[in-house]
């Protein structure tokens, strides 16, 4: 078999200034512009470099655990009935337990090639922080992770994991003391130290070129899934389904199928306590365009253009913005977006535990829940669906016990 391709070929989108249609771009202080321009230039150079790609491929295979299985979920499929066939793309089986490592290995290698000895990252629940600390340890890079004070309390074990891996976790006291503020603080740090530091952004968000870079490194999910489904089913799937917070696992799955027009993309946002409670993370599905963390995108904001705090039971979806490429997919109709509540996501966890023996991350459970509770009725008989199982649920056991423990 040919060496598996792990980075999608260069695309027409974004344009030269990082726009996906009207979305994306670079809305950052001038101090950061030269760093972004340098990063873009260096990234183009390395992504086309055979030695860089071979090194990344090697790490993904021998260290992270790629390719991940495309698993036929027989009992879940039977539950849905009507000949519907559900496949799970098992990113939960990767080292560190989620798809985040695809990106941190790629950007970690990029940092090393660019000669930056120090990497920084933002983290909410700690998944991206742990994945960054892991890549930094592996590659011999100094690592600092910015994390909201409130998140540090809620995710004390992940704080310890990062420290164990040699990273320094920097508490963020400003604003809501959660992910968005940790991101602000990481940008502030980068402004002061862009000469020796690379900022490993954790999702397909932020100013250009980050949404493109993260998408490219996550595209390995869809590239593999496409080859695997063609081998197993001898045809393309009808639907791709994945959760959307910032949107990296979903875009990683969707992007390589972009030109396959018969393949529908469905992204699932977190409806939290419900759309009308105001406590949710439905950036796309409530749809107000704004500029946040350096990009034009759909963002939760109040009547005065101030950014709102998102809510979800799943920390990985708890972000008020969303990647600009998703916004473009939504506006152009290439993808559809739905939302499921915290309670529905817990249903998704139970279904997968009981039928497949898999404890999914709460994030991924949103996609499963949408399939079981809503999408099933719209699917034609015999439809083939690929669900991105972006992470495992080990990190969520405390939350799960709190909500499901009385069974």
């Amino acid at each position: 078999m040919e060496q598996p391709q792990t980075i999608a070929p260069r695309q027409a989108r974004p344009d030269a200034d990082g726009h996906f249609g009207e979305f994306g771009g670079r809305y950052v202080p001038e101090t950061l512009m030269p760093a972004l321009l340098e990063l873009e230039q260096q990234y183009y150079r390395f992504r086309d470099d055979a030695a860089f790609r071979a090194e990344l491929d090697h790490l993904l295979r021998t260290y992270a655990g790629r390719p991940t299985p495309l698993y036929f979920a027989r009992r879940l499929s039977e539950r849905l009935g009507r000949g519907i066939r559900v496949y799970l793309k098992r990113e939960d089986l990767l080292h560190t337990g989620a798809h985040k490592i695809n990106n941190t290995l790629g950007q970690g290698l990029l940092a090393r090639r660019m000669g930056k000895p120090r990497v920084i990252a933002e983290t909410g629940a700690g998944q991206h922080g742990v994945a960054t600390a892991t890549a930094a340890a592996l590659l011999g890079l100094q690592c600092e992770v910015f994390m909201g004070e409130e998140d540090m309390e809620r995710q004390a074990l992940n704080v310890f994991r990062m420290q164990l891996l040699g990273a320094r976790v920097v508490p963020v006291h400003s604003g809501s003391r959660t992910l968005k503020d940790a991101t602000n603080e990481a940008f502030r740090d980068w402004m002061a130290r862009c000469e020796d530091t690379h900022y490993i952004v954790g999702s397909v968000v932020g100013p250009h070129p980050f949404p493109m870079i993260v998408r490219d490194f996550q595209s390995v999910i869809g590239i593999e899934a496409r080859a695997q489904i063609l081998e197993i089913e001898k045809r393309l799937p009808d639907v791709l389904l994945a959760c959307v917070g910032g949107g990296s696992n979903s875009l990683g799955l969707f992007h390589p199928f972009y030109e396959d027009r018969t393949v529908q993309f469905v992204g699932v946002e977190a409806a939290g306590l419900g759309r009308h409670t105001g406590k949710h993370a439905m950036s796309i599905t409530t749809g107000q365009v704004g500029v946040f963390h350096g990009a034009r995108e759909y963002v939760l904001q109040n009547d005065d253009g101030q950014i709102q705090i998102a809510h979800s039971i799943s920390a990985g979806l708890d972000y008020p913005g969303v990647g600009p490429e998703h916004c473009f997919y939504a506006a152009s109709g290439r993808a559809r977006y739905a939302a499921v509540t915290d309670a529905e996501a817990l249903e998704g966890v139970k279904v997968l535990c009981e039928l497949e023996g898999i404890i999914p991350a709460l994030e991924s459970a949103h996609a499963v829940a949408h399939l079981v509770l809503h999408l099933r009725d719209e699917l034609p008989d015999g439809a083939i669906v690929i669900v991105c199982l972006s992470g495992r649920g080990d990190k969520d056991v405390y939350v799960l016990k709190e909500h499901l423990g009385k069974m």
Binding site: G25, E30, R188, M191, G290, H293, Q306
Partner: protein, 284 residues
């Protein structure tokens, strides 16, 4: 000619340097901001940067972050701040530059907010997260209304990019003195003067320098080679310290006037004594 250009033209004639304080609008509250603006004008401000608070200010250090959060908490909004400018225009003709993150402006509507600001008597905009790659739409809107969009140049900005920015700039150019966020620093970067000198090769516009200037000696040093000196966090911090002080006006006037005198003293102009008289009018 708008007020900002007229002010710098006047300064050029006398050889004096412009003192440009920054404050966060709505901090500690809107009524006091109104009084602070007149007090700044009475005590040597040649141009006031009026900051519209934003929930997620990535270019700001802790002092302005705190002030922004407190201002939003106290009810500051774009509409109210524009109203404040209208109000304050009855008392002073000091040029006012609205300093805002892009999103609050974008959300209100760029043409609408420009019209509102113009009618209220504001003189221009500075949008720190709007680099030239993204500024075309707002720049054109402001151009039609004779309001400059002030561009920034950082120490990291390479020469060909400075050239590009200088071509777009009107009013004046803002040189960011250091890498990193706003906030007080013990000393100024050693390469600041050469950075400004390099920028002069690309522009005939006045150059104001800001970020990290917090003491009269900094202001004096910068005024030797720049046309304007911006002091932000140090003033906002002083306002924060004085928020519960009944005699805050007097202390603030004294502090501002010491900075203003230092900025202007570099060319040997005799400083004015601090003024707090409420009946003072500075008609442009």
């Amino acid at each position: 000619m708008n007020r900002i250009e007229a002010m710098f033209a006047e300064k050029a004639k006398t050889g004096q340097k412009a003192f440009i304080p920054f404050i966060t609008a709505g901090f500690p509250d809107l009524p006091r901001t109104e009084r602070i603006i007149t007090l700044l004008a009475e005590n040597g401000a040649d141009l006031i940067e009026l900051g519209i608070p934003f929930s997620d200010p990535i270019a700001d250090g802790p002092t302005i972050q705190r002030a922004s959060a407190a201002a939003l908490e106290a009810g500051a909004s774009v509409a109210r701040i524009v109203g404040l400018v209208r109000q304050v225009r009855r008392q002073t003709g000091v040029p006012i530059l609205l300093f805002s993150a892009y999103n609050p402006l974008f959300h209100r509507g760029l043409a609408r907010v420009a019209d509102e600001a113009k009618q209220a008597g504001a003189d221009g905009f500075l949008v720190p997260d709007l680099p030239p790659e993204e500024s075309a739409e707002f720049d054109a809107i402001l151009r039609e209304r004779d309001m400059p969009l002030i561009y920034l140049v950082a120490p990291t900005t390479p020469p060909q990019r400075r050239e590009k920015i200088a071509r777009l700039a009107r009013g004046f150019l803002y040189y960011i003195s250091l890498k990193g966020v706003t906030g007080e620093r013990a000393s100024l970067p050693a390469d600041l003067e050469s950075g400004v000198a390099e920028l002069r090769r690309h522009t005939a516009l006045p150059i104001a320098v800001g970020f990290g200037i917090s003491r009269p000696e900094h202001a004096r040093a910068v005024a030797r080679f720049a046309d304007g000196v911006v002091v932000g966090s140090a003033i906002v911090k002083k306002i924060e310290e004085l928020r519960d002080d009944p005699d805050w006006e007097h202390h603030l006037a004294e502090f501002v006037s010491s900075l203003a005198s230092a900025a202007k003293a570099s060319v040997g102009v005799e400083p004015d004594p601090p003024r707090v008289g409420c009946d003072f009018r500075n008609h442009a």
